[in-house]
């Protein structure tokens, strides 16, 4: 029951991240969305191992640890690149509004 509860929560978290990634703009929301999606995946993996509370599968833990570390690496690179991008200047702003999107 516990495992099912967390599995459902995991899928909803993943979906929330998915929606936010597709809908929201700006680097912070994108990175947050990716991280929430990641948390969803990790929760799904850990919930899988929680089906057997007396015989925990350590492989999922290993995978999640690897995943967390890879996620922070990706987020760091994304933030790094985003801070290197110059802010759109006034003229860019105007051209963007003119473009039919």
């Amino acid at each position: 029951m516990q495992a099912e509860l967390y599995s459902v929560c995991a899928v909803i978290l993943f979906a929330l991240g998915l929606i936010a990634f597709l809908v929201k703009h700006g680097v912070f929301h994108k990175v947050l969305a990716l991280n929430v999606m990641g948390i969803g995946v990790f929760m799904l993996l850990l919930a899988t191992s929680a089906f057997y509370p007396n015989a925990i599968d350590p492989l999922t833990h290993g995978m999640v640890l690897t995943g967390i570390v890879v996620a922070v690496a990706g987020s760091a690179l994304a933030l790094n690149l985003a801070t290197q991008v110059d802010l759109p200047s006034q003229s860019d702003e105007i051209t963007r509004h003119d473009k039919p999107d």
């Binding site: 929330l16 991240g17 929760m43 850990l46 925990i56 967390i68 801070t83 200047s89």
Partner: protein, 95 residues
């Protein structure tokens, strides 16, 4: 057993509320702070799911360092923005 399940249920609700708050808040700073709290709440969930190793990693890396990175980048962009606007203000004055 039911009391444990109740706790899990409350925790799940808390996590979902924090996540949607972090993702859909209009203020970026609030979003980041909510994300860090989400990391802490999630690490309690990891303990509940018998994964203490992962909980430690989540607190230190997932919530702590990602949060620090986000805040650092946020501050930098805020400063950049303020400089940017002051420069463009000057330009318009000169015109």
């Amino acid at each position: 057993m039911p009391i444990n399940l109740l706790f899990d249920g409350l925790l799940v609700v808390l996590i979902l509320v924090l996540a949607s708050g972090a993702l859909f808040s209009t203020n970026i700073f609030n979003g980041i702070v909510l994300f860090i709290s989400l990391g802490l709440a999630v690490s309690i969930a990891w303990v509940r799911l018998y994964a203490i190793d992962v909980a430690i990693a989540e607190v230190t890396i997932g919530a702590g360092l990602t949060g620090a990175l986000l805040l650092g980048a946020w501050k930098r962009l805020e400063i950049k923005k303020s400089l940017h606007s002051s420069i463009s203000n000057k330009e318009t004055k000169n015109d």
